[in-house]
């Protein structure tokens, strides 16, 4: 499962996830990845919905979020293809139990599911270099039924669709665009806030 599959994340999805993490620097945050399997050899992550920035381990808000998200994106031919997690601490690269459990749940319905972990060191170094690769680590569940990191050997199995995405990201960061990010937590506190973040779409 997920043997030689490539994973490609679209710019919109990528930026939404990183901006969400930057909006809540002192907390762990998470989100879901939406997309599809394309031509049987790649997982296309076309969009993302930022979920929560507090109490990530509680079920009720997660269940409501997933119901609404599946309904909305299902109508567009997309499924939940993965999960994103950013740890609370800067140099924490461990997959927490919460991340694994939610990842497992997504994997049950989409065996090629991608588990993305924010790489804060890479993110911090972004302005200093010309790195085009995503500031995230990719994990997939292999046949041994555990989450293993993919592409850490420098292979290009995980990439951003648009090559200039990191430049756009840095631009958004400098204009404090993360303050506009709405996650599901914000929606539940004020339903007039839209978790689709339409103004960040193409």
């Amino acid at each position: 499962m997920g043997g030689e599959l490539r994973y490609e994340i679209g710019q919109t999805a990528y930026i939404k996830l990183v901006l969400h993490a930057l909006k809540h620097k002192t907390a762990a945050v998470n989100g879901v990845l939406l997309g599809r399997l394309s031509d049987g050899d790649a997982v296309e992550i076309a969009d993302a919905v930022p979920l929560f920035h507090s109490h990530l381990g509680l079920l009720p808000p997660l269940e409501i979020a997933l119901l609404q998200i599946e309904e909305y994106y299902g109508a567009q031919g997309m499924a939940i293809v993965g999960y994103f997690h950013a740890n609370e601490r800067f140099n924490d690269f461990e997959l927490s139990n919460v991340a694994r459990n939610i990842g497992d749940h997504v994997h049950r319905y989409f065996p090629q599911a991608a588990l993305l972990l924010l790489d804060s060191k890479k993110l911090e170094a972004l302005p200093k270099g010309k790195d085009r690769s995503p500031v995230m680590q990719l994990y997939t569940k292999d046949s041994s039924k555990s989450w293993k990191q993919v592409g850490s050997d420098g292979s290009s199995r995980f990439s951003i669709k648009e090559p200039s995405a990191n430049i756009v990201l840095l631009d958004y960061i400098s204009t404090q665009k993360m303050q506009d990010m709405v996650d599901f937590d914000d929606h539940l506190d004020d339903i007039s806030k839209d978790w689709l973040n339409p103004e960040l779409g193409k």
């Binding site: 381990g57 509680l58 079920l59």
Partner: protein
């Protein structure tokens, strides 16, 4: 935990100050009072006052409180030079002060000099064993180093002495939730509800934990606590309304065939569903159809 009105007030002030409309001191006092963590704003606006001699002197003796607040914000933003600057000013004004000593130890923490910070806190505690801030810094240091079980141990010891500290109970509960130790988290929220029985946020968190643990008894209890949140907030809490629907649905699944249970719970669920639909229609019309299908799937499952 701040209420919605308090948060709106702070945000309004923050916007005002950000856009040059003045009110920086008012904003800083409010952030301090509500114990919010908005370090980048505090640093920016605090420094704008401290760096202007006329603004600084107009504060009178509150000037030193501001130095302390800015020092802590600077440490949080890793602007250690600014922090050192503020602490030096305070050291000159209050030599041999324990409160300034605490700030010096916090600076060691910010630098990542954990063992030195630990030593500094221990020696400060020798003279004042009941300093709550220092006790909690020790728990914070464990957490910062990723030692969650150490943080839990520190907090538990702390709460044996200072059992009325809401913030500590809440922090402990959140650490338990992040480790999926829900039963222990539930205990913390029970203590919080005892301390603050009219705070709906405690009831809500407790209900969420009970639902997450699951099982018929917990689901029924969760439903009661969601109901009390609705009671305490006059029906204005979206999370609690959803909670009722989730609980009813989950209880229904567990008690299939027991007619009495189903009839009792349907009334409350349909009230909650109606309230949600009314609210979404008014404030989030684009999401109304999504809401309706979500509620439909909860009624059927």
């Amino acid at each position: 935990m701040v209420s919605k009105t308090e948060e709106a007030q702070v945000n309004r002030l923050e916007n005002q100050v950000d856009n040059g409309g003045g009110g920086a001191w008012e904003y800083l006092c409010l952030v301090r009072k509500l114990k919010l963590r908005r370090s980048d704003k505090v640093l920016k606006h605090g420094l704008s006052i401290l760096n202007e001699p006329s603004k600084r002197s107009s504060l009178g003796h509150e000037e030193w409180t501001l130095y302390e607040q800015v020092a802590i914000a600077a440490m949080d933003c890793q602007c250690l030079d600014v922090a050192k600057g503020c602490i030096t000013v305070l050291q000159k004004k209050f030599p041999d002060s324990k409160r300034v000593g605490r700030l010096e130890a916090m600076l060691l923490e910010a630098k990542g000099s954990w063992s030195e910070a630990k030593k500094a806190y221990s020696s400060l505690l020798e003279d004042n064993a009941l300093d709550q801030v220092i006790h909690k810094r020790r728990a914070a240091m464990e957490k910062a180093q990723g030692n969650l079980s150490g943080a839990i141990e520190c907090l538990n010891k702390y709460l044996e002495i200072f059992m009325a500290d809401h913030d500590a109970w809440r922090e402990l509960a959140e650490i338990y939730v992040s480790l999926q130790m829900y039963k222990q988290a539930a205990f913390c929220y029970e203590e919080l509800i005892l301390c603050q029985p009219t705070n709906p946020l405690c009831h809500l968190a407790y209900a969420d934990v009970l639902y997450t643990v699951g099982g018929l008894e917990n689901l029924q209890a969760a439903k009661k606590y969601y109901a009390s949140v609705i009671d305490l907030t006059g029906g204005m809490n979206t999370r609690a309304l959803f909670g009722i629907c989730l609980c009813t649905s989950a209880i229904g699944q567990l008690t299939k065939g027991r007619n009495k249970e189903e009839k009792e719970s349907l009334g409350l669920q349909s009230l909650a569903a109606t309230a949600l639909e009314k609210d979404y229609k008014q404030r989030a019309p684009s999401k109304l159809s999504l809401l309706s299908s979500t509620l439909r799937s909860l009624k059927l499952s």
